[in-house]
Structure formats: C-alpha cells, structure tokens
C-alpha cells in the first residue's frame, strides 16, 4: 500500500540577508497510515524545517527548491497556495513547541479551535463551537464546556498543549506533525501529553510525525525513526533496531553521549568533538566526517548515499558500525554488563548544611497600598546536607523550589526562615558586608549563559571581574588566573578578546563555568547548566565538570529537572515537589529503590532511550496538574496526584523517615519501601507499585 506521506529528495533553503542556509539537503522519508515516525536530531539538523516544509509554512526567506512531497498521491510542493490551505489543518495538522506563544492571547481557546472547523467545514458558528467542546473533551480537558471560553493565559502549560492538540485535530487530519511538543513541559506532564497523542493516533487512525531531540521520547513512542544530521538523513529504521543496532557512527556516538548510557558506571561520556558544519556552505563529502572517529579518506572526498543491506534499515555511511543484518532474524547486540552499583563510600565531612529553609514570595494586590494577600510558598522547610567533594543533585519539576534553594544558598535571595550553615556560620543571618567575603567560597553557574554574561563585556573582563571585586591580585596576576581558567574549561586563550555573542552555546556555558571557578570556590551551585544544550555538547560540559571536580576538589550542588543527568552525576539526590523535599539519599538507592510515590512517578515519566524498557513501563506516570503554590494542599503536598493517598495524607504532613542506613529518607505515609526501624534492621525487599 502506498505510504500516506512520501518525501522524495527534499531540498529546502532559507535565504538570509547575508547568505543562504541549505537547511534540508536531500531528505527522503515516508510515513505509513497509523504509524508514528520519529525524526530526531540536534539543533540545526533540519528536522524542524523538514516538518515546516511539509506544511509549506517556512519562515521568511524559506523556499523548497527541489524534491517532492506526496500526500495521498498528490505532490503538495506543486500545489498553489489556495489548495494548500485546504490541506493545512484539514488533512495535516501541526502542533508546536511553546503553547503559550503559539496561541493567540486575545482570543478564547474555543474560538481558536472553532476557527479550525469553520475554515474547512460547512458549519455555522454554533456547530463549530460544539465541535470545539467535543474535541477539547477528547483531549482530556476537564470541564470542557466551561473552559472553552477561557483565554490561553488562564491555562497551565499542559492544558494549553492539549488545547493546541485539539485545534490541530478538530478536522480529523490523516497526519499530525508534532514539533517538539513536550520540550517546554514538565516531565510528568510530558508523559501525559505523549500518551494522549498516542491514544488519539490509535483512535483516529492517524499517522504522526514526531520531531524531537529527545531519544528517550523516540524510544517510547516512535514506530520508526529517521536520524538527521546537517540537513540530511543519517540513518533510518524501526525503533527497536535503531537502539539495538545503530549502523551510522553518528547514531552510535549520540547514544554514547547520553548520560543514561553511563548512569550505572559513571564513567566519562563520549563527547562528539567539534561542531556541526555551517549549512551556508555545505561540505561536499560526508558531513559527519570531520567529527567521526572512524573517518577515512573516502569519507572526506565522497558523499555517502542512503543505502542499507536490509530493507527498512538505511544509513548513509561507507564504513557503518554495528552488525550486518543480512539474515532475517533479529540481531541482538549484547547489552553491556551490568556493573555493580558503586557503593557511595565514606562521604567527606559536611560542607554546607541547610536546615528548615523557608522562602515565601509575597503576592500583592491593591491599588496604591500593596497589601500582601498571600504567599507563594516556594521553599517550605527543607533540610539536607552537602558533603565535601561530592555532587548533590536536586531534582524536581517547575515550581518545586529547587532553583530558589540554589539562589538562597548563593545569596541572590534572602530566606524567610531557616538556616544555611557554612564554615560554622549561618549564612542566612549574616549581614551583607561579612557575607561578601564568604561569597568567594560559594559560586553560582546560571542556566542561560547568554543572559548571564554582559553582552558588552569581553570574555576576559567577564572572567576577571570577580577578581576585581574581591580585590585579588594585581593586573598581571589576574590575567594569569584568567588564562588558567580558560585552560581548565577548554577554551582557547585568545577567547579573552571575544564578546559573548561570538561563542556557541556550549562555549558560553564553559565561560560561565570558568567565571564561577575563578574565585577558587569550594562549592558551586549549578542551576540547570546543561538543560539548553544539545546532547553532544551536554556531554562535553558534563565531562568537563566531572574532570574539574576531581582536579580542583570541588563540591557541586547540581540543580536540574533532568533525572538522567542527575543520576549520572550525583552522589546524593534530593527530590523536590512544590517546595518540599520529598525524598533524599544516595543516588542509586533513590533511583533504583525509590520510596516516595512522586519519585517513582518521576522515574517512570522520564523517557529512557531504551525501547524495551519504555514498552515495559506499566506505571501510569503522575496524573493531574500541579496545584497552586499559593494555596498548597494541606498535609502532604503531593496527595492530590498520588494514587496511594488516603485521608491521613490531608491531615498530617509526613516527615522524613529513614529507609536505609546510608541516609536514604522520604516523607510519605504510604511509602513504596519499608522504612528501617530504630533498631537499625536492614531494608526488606523491593515493593513494586
């Protein structure tokens, strides 16, 4: 049967003022009815432009210059705009990454969905609105009939994305294109949305193109995958085979850079050297050759075609890796030996201790006199210890308070209550002046390095500013120190002359890290330092952080929402939810034997780049939405979404109780493990939920 969508040799260019970017350079794909095709790659690989090309919604300056896109037999590249409009929203629907900006803020959600209906069906306004309610219901929006008259800003992120999906599906298209649909959402909501898309696909008999950079999402949701690199397809096959037996060196390298791959062993990740090629001047030979560890002369001279030795598995490489699949039987690549868990040996002395930390942000209302009408309880009585020389990972979703804690420790905000013990002093009580001296020891690494570097300062000035402020050294000594830092983070010495915008994302993160190192701190609080980076760059930065921790005897407080990264780096993990620390303990214990239902939910929701594991997941993830932080639920804050919740959870707040002798604690009335008794008996078996 002919595929639903067939792309043949697509070439798309973007003509900018100064140059032309060959964003898509000869891509061929096909999608069968009812299946999910995953298109995966890092930023700049052309996956989004490919998706936009199908809809012919290219940005200004974008043109399809060659190739054909056949939808149900008709070549839509040749279609005049009027007819294309009949295709958009009707036969092909598309959803985008950021639901907040992708919805018109001044139009009700219902009207926007109804618009999709009115454009393609002969109905009146009432009927269109009915359909809008119907389809909102279909996507799982509670109280659809009431909420249909609300505006986008009145919804949460997950609900907004559901509204977008409703809009795209209102006319029951045969194909849904989802461009990074969950990247802007929390992990638990992400799982809900991905499930929803899957469910709808089955119910409506749709095909889905899932464009993403997240290999875990691909592993769990895609039937087939196309891996893109530098505007071309590097490899294409069904999901299982891709993960089991990648043939293209890029795919293989990608897998090896994932923190999940080294989670158990904690060794260095493979990081792909260099950067993707400049697509304004596409190289004539194999595009991955400059960064490929197996590259040979032929690779640098000729361009490999997309071929395969088994139908259904194609790759563009002269010297593919993996195992030839000539035989019909599936080849199982041997799974790496499960390395026994590292015992988190004797931890060093406690470096920093947080006790009963509280931070409330006032919510004010009122015309002239700003009355405090409530508080956002961002951090509610959190206590934990950070040991010298270790990495403490603080993980949680948006609004859990992890970033706030980081800021409190570093002094960017003042705590409302509680203490931060460092060097025998309570930093929360310290006055500004004496605190400035202490500042040297605790430094901060920002998430968005682009925003955290003054665009008007050269890198050298950025790095030496901390030294100037702390009055350390004379000019020469400072320059010496700056050069030293640049060496540490792997930036060339001539970088001192450059401005922040002249660096790439990964390089800027290194610069930010160098700045946090320059005062020889003991503790570095890193707030989502790798979240905005591509996987291969992420690996570089993580390796750098690990190495420097060893070389300079650093201690890290690593804040992230990415469980895989946290698990890879951390010795201890703290899990936060809505301002509370719900579980804490040695990393492997928390990850492999979680005691708190939220931790379990989090682990289950986070997509893992292993199709078998993903398929085997039976846990439903975490239902529902994040409650308001201004009026958090009484008792246990997680109870509104917890499958095990009982009455007592609303009345009595659970306290942290120990689950092992290694400091594993969780706060739950109905934990998933058995707590240790005070006599110190060992943890009994593992309870599965």
């Amino acid at each position: 049967m002919a595929p639903l969508l067939e792309i043949t040799n697509l070439h798309t260019e973007i003509r900018l003022r100064s140059a032309t970017v060959h964003a898509v350079d000869g891509v061929s794909l096909h999608v069968e009815a009812g299946e999910t095709l995953g298109v995966v790659g890092e930023s700049g690989c052309g996956k989004t432009i490919t998706a936009l090309s199908i809809m012919k919604l290219l940005p200004t300056g974008g043109h399809i210059t060659d190739g054909a896109i056949r939808l149900g037999g008709i070549d839509i590249t040749a279609l005049p705009e009027e007819d294309m409009r009949q295709v958009r929203g009707n036969e092909v629907g598309m959803i985008f990454q950021d639901p907040l900006t992708s919805l018109n803020p001044t139009m009700t959600v219902g009207k926007q969905i109804a618009e999709a209906v009115v454009l393609h069906r002969e109905v009146n306004r009432e009927q269109a609105m009915d359909r809008a309610v119907e389809v909102l219901d279909l996507v799982g929006m509670p109280k659809a009939r009431e909420r249909v008259n609300d505006y986008p800003h009145q919804f949460s992120g997950g609900m907004r994305q559901r509204a977008m999906i409703a809009m795209a599906l209102a006319c029951e298209p045969k194909l849904l294109i989802a461009d990074e649909p969950t990247t802007a959402l929390d992990v638990t909501i992400q799982k809900q949305i991905l499930e929803l898309i899957d469910d709808l696909r089955r119910r409506l008999g749709m095909a889905v193109i899932l464009v993403t950079h997240d290999l875990g999402v691909i592993a769990g949701r895609a039937d087939r995958v196309a891996v893109m690199y530098a505007g071309k397809i590097a490899e294409s096959t069904d999901t299982g085979t891709l993960f089991r037996n990648p043939r293209h060196p890029y795919t293989e390298a990608l897998f090896e850079s994932l923190p999940e791959s080294a989670a158990a062993t904690r060794e260095r990740l493979y990081s792909i050297p260099g950067m993707p090629p400049d697509l304004t001047k596409p190289p004539p030979a194999c595009r991955f050759a400059p960064r490929c560890r197996y590259a040979a002369d032929r690779c640098r001279a000729e361009e490999p075609q997309l071929l395969g030795d088994v139908p259904g598995h194609t790759y563009a490489c002269f010297y593919p890796v993996g195992v030839t699949e000539r035989r019909m039987g599936q080849v199982k690549a041997p799974k790496p030996e499960a390395v026994p868990m590292q015992t988190n040996g004797s931890a060093g002395p406690v470096l920093l201790s947080v006790r009963n930390l509280v931070k409330d942000f006032p919510v004010t209302k009122g015309a002239v006199l700003q009355r405090r009408v409530g508080n956002v309880s961002a951090v509610a009585d959190v206590s934990f210890d950070i040991h010298e020389g270790e990495t403490f990972g603080l993980v949680g979703e948006s609004g859990c308070g992890k970033t706030t804690i980081g800021r409190l420790i570093v002094g960017l905000d003042k705590p409302t209550g509680g203490s931060i013990w460092y060097g025998g002093k309570d930093l929360a009580r310290a006055r500004e002046r004496e605190y400035r001296r202490q500042r040297k020891d605790i430094q901060f690494m920002f998430q968005d390095s682009y925003a955290s570097l003054d665009p008007r300062m050269r890198a050298g000035a950025v790095l030496s500013e901390p030294l100037v402020v702390q009055r350390m050294g004379n000019r020469e000594q400072r320059q010496q120190k700056v050069a030293e830092m640049l060496d540490h983070v792997g930036l060339p010495r001539n970088a001192v002359e450059r401005f922040p915008h002249e660096f790439s994302g990964g390089q800027r993160q290194r610069l930010g890290f160098a700045r946090s190192l320059i005062l020889d701190p003991k503790l570095i609080v890193a707030d989502e330092p790798v979240s905005a980076l591509d996987v291969s760059i992420q690996a570089q930065v993580l390796n750098m952080m690990k190495d420097l921790q060893r070389d300079l005897s650093l201690t890290y407080l690593f804040i992230s929402h990415d469980l895989a990264v946290i698990r890879y780096l951390s010795n201890h993990i703290g899990v936060m939810y809505l301002g509370k620390l719900v579980e804490v303990g040695p990393a492997d214990e928390v990850y492999l034997t979680p005691a708190h239902p939220y931790t379990q939910g989090l682990i289950n929701s986070a997509p893992v780049p292993d199709p078998e594991e993903e398929q085997a997941k039976v846990h439903e993830g975490v239902k529902g939405e994040l409650p308001s932080a201004i009026n958090p639920p009484s008792g246990c804050r997680f109870r509104t979404r917890c499958p095990l919740a009982q009455d007592i959870c609303a009345d009595v707040e659970p306290l942290l109780t120990p689950f092992s002798l290694n400091g594993h604690q969780a706060a739950c009335h109905f934990p998933l493990q058995d707590p240790v008794t005070t006599e110190g008996s060992a943890v009994t078996g593992v309870q599965s939920s």
Binding site: T60, G274, D278, F444, A451, E465, L491, H501, S504
Partner: protein, 319 residues
C-alpha cells in the same frame, strides 16, 4: 514628543522563533578567518555606515552646522540693525534670498537663526536626556515605593499639556537662548525618564546583573558597570531624537512670538509673520527657506537616530 518605537526586522525571525541560527564561526577551532576581534563600537559603526540614509543624514546635519556657524564668517550681513528701506525686497543681487519684513537679509538671517535653533536644540536635548536618564535609572534601580512615587511625579508632569506650560513659562520669563534651553528641557526630561526607567527595570532582572551580586559586588557596581553601559544605546538614540524634537518645539514657540527675541532669532521666529505675508502677496522667500531648513535638519537627524537604533540593536542581539 514623537519617539518611534523600536524598529522591527522581520527578515531574521524576530528573536523567539529563531529556527535558523547562523552558526558563529568556530574561532575556538582556530578556524575560518579568525579575524581580529573588533570593538563593539567598530561593529556598530559598520552597521551605521551601511545605512545610506544615515550617511546622507549625517552629511546634511554637518552641512547645516557649518552653514549656520561658519557661514556668517564668509557671508557677512548686518543682522542687528533694521533697514526698513529694504523691507521685503525680492531675491536677487545683494540679497540672494531677499529681505524680510524689517530689512534683514534672509540668507544671513537663516544662518543666525540656525545657530540658535541648533544650539538650543542640542543643549536642551542634552540637559533633558542627562537629567531624565539619571532620574529614570535611579528610580528604576531603587524600585519599590520610591520608584512609584518618583514615577507619579513624572506621570503628573506628562499629563500637563507641555505646550501650555511652555507658553506660560515663556510669558513669565524673558525668553533668551539660555532660558529657552531650560524651559524646553524642563518638560522633555519627563518622557526620557520614563523610558530609561523602563529600560532599567528590564535590565535589573537580567541575569548578568544578578551575577554581580554572586561575585560579591554591590549595587553601585551593578548600576555603573552593567546597567548604564547597556542602557547607553537607548540613551543615545533618545538624545538624537530629542535634538530634532527640541528644534521643532523651539520653532513652534518662535512662531508664536514667544521664543527668542530680536535681534536674536530662530527658524521658527523667522516664520512668525508668515501668515500675514502670505496674504499680502507671494513672498515665498519669507516662508520656504526657514521652513525647509527646519524640515531638512530634522529629517536628517531622524535618519541618524533610526540608524543608530539599528546599530545598537544588532550589536547586542546577535545570537
């Protein structure tokens, strides 16, 4: 008065949906024409210079300055004593642009008037912008109730139709160049203050300003080393437009007879009798030279201001 909102360049997807990022050259790999890094000023100048209108504007502005200040040294006329015999003589011969209602040579008068217009315009703009920027920056940085209060004052000032106050002040105080400078600045600073305060508020929340606290720096450092330099762009652009606006305000007051007094004059003052003379006959030389001088100068300054705005934006917004 009439300040343009930031220009928009839709060619490069405006920030948010930057689907296509031009890759920065990998200087780290010692690659691709690792040019010597240029200062921000050099790059800004490059963008400015590419804008032909801006260059034309700059040339015109320079010409007007030379015309007004150097001109009288070359082309000497008597601009102090009236000469009623020559009243409204048509252009020709000794008076290329004719004479005005009291016998002054129009071309010469145009130069003298230019001096006043440009001087007062520039000075008023300078005073207004310096004061307004400081006021706004301090208010924005301190924040809280102090900021609210200071801004209420600005709001109050902005609610008063400035032209009325200017007229009243011009009636109370004998108008000369210096008083005109302060009278105009006294109202123009309000708009600048509000703008810079907004800018400061936005900059204050930038992470690189917060980073100053982390390394142990204080508020002073944050303001002087990070906020002000990043606001300078806006300030300079504002100052440029302020000059054009001030020239127009001065001219408008002069037209009403409430500007500088004889024998001093400005372009607007030259047009003061304009209406009567229109009706008496076709005395075009009493209308067009002065009016065109205003228009051409202000258009030139606006071109410069627009181009400066583009130059400042590109150099800071490169991704």
């Amino acid at each position: 008065m009439t300040t343009l909102p930031p220009g928009v360049d839709p060619g490069l997807a405006h920030g948010r949906t930057a689907l296509v990022e031009a890759q920065p050259p990998d200087f780290a790999a010692g690659a691709v024409g690792a040019e010597k890094p240029r200062s921000l000023f050099a790059r800004g100048w490059e963008v400015f210079a590419q804008n032909k209108l801006a260059l034309a504007g700059l040339a015109t502005a320079v010409f007007m300055v030379l015309f007004s200040f150097v001109g009288p040294l070359i082309y000497r006329t008597d601009q102090v004593h009236v000469n009623l015999i020559n009243a409204i003589c048509p252009p020709g011969g000794a008076h290329p642009l004719g004479c005005d209602s009291v016998g002054y040579d129009v071309l010469g008068r145009l130069m003298i008037a230019g001096q006043t217009s440009l001087e007062v315009g520039a000075a008023a703009a300078f005073v207004a912008v310096v004061f307004g920027a400081l006021y706004g920056a301090i208010s924005g940085f301190i924040g809280g109730p102090v900021d609210s209060f200071l801004m209420r004052i600005v709001d109050a000032g902005l609610s008063i139709p400035y032209i009325m106050i200017l007229i009243i002040l011009a009636v109370i105080f004998a108008p000369n160049r210096v008083t005109m400078i302060f009278v105009i600045a006294a109202f123009y600073w309000l708009g600048v203050a509000r703008l810079i305060r907004g800018e400061t508020l936005s900059l204050r929340t930038r992470e690189y300003v917060q980073a100053v606290k982390v390394i142990g720096g204080g508020g002073m450092r944050a303001v002087t080393r990070h906020i002000v330099p990043n606001a300078i762009g806006t300030i300079i652009v504002q100052a440029t437009f302020a000059v054009a606006d001030s020239i127009i305000i001065l001219a408008s007051l002069g037209f009403l007879g409430l500007g500088v007094q004889a024998p001093d004059t400005d372009w607007g003052d030259m047009l003061a009798g304009g209406l009567q003379y229109l009706q008496g006959g076709n005395y075009w030389w009493l209308i067009y030279p002065a009016g065109l001088a205003i228009i051409i100068t202000c258009i030139a300054i606006n071109f410069i201001g627009d181009a400066l705005r583009d130059a400042f934006e590109t150099r800071l917004q490169r991704r």
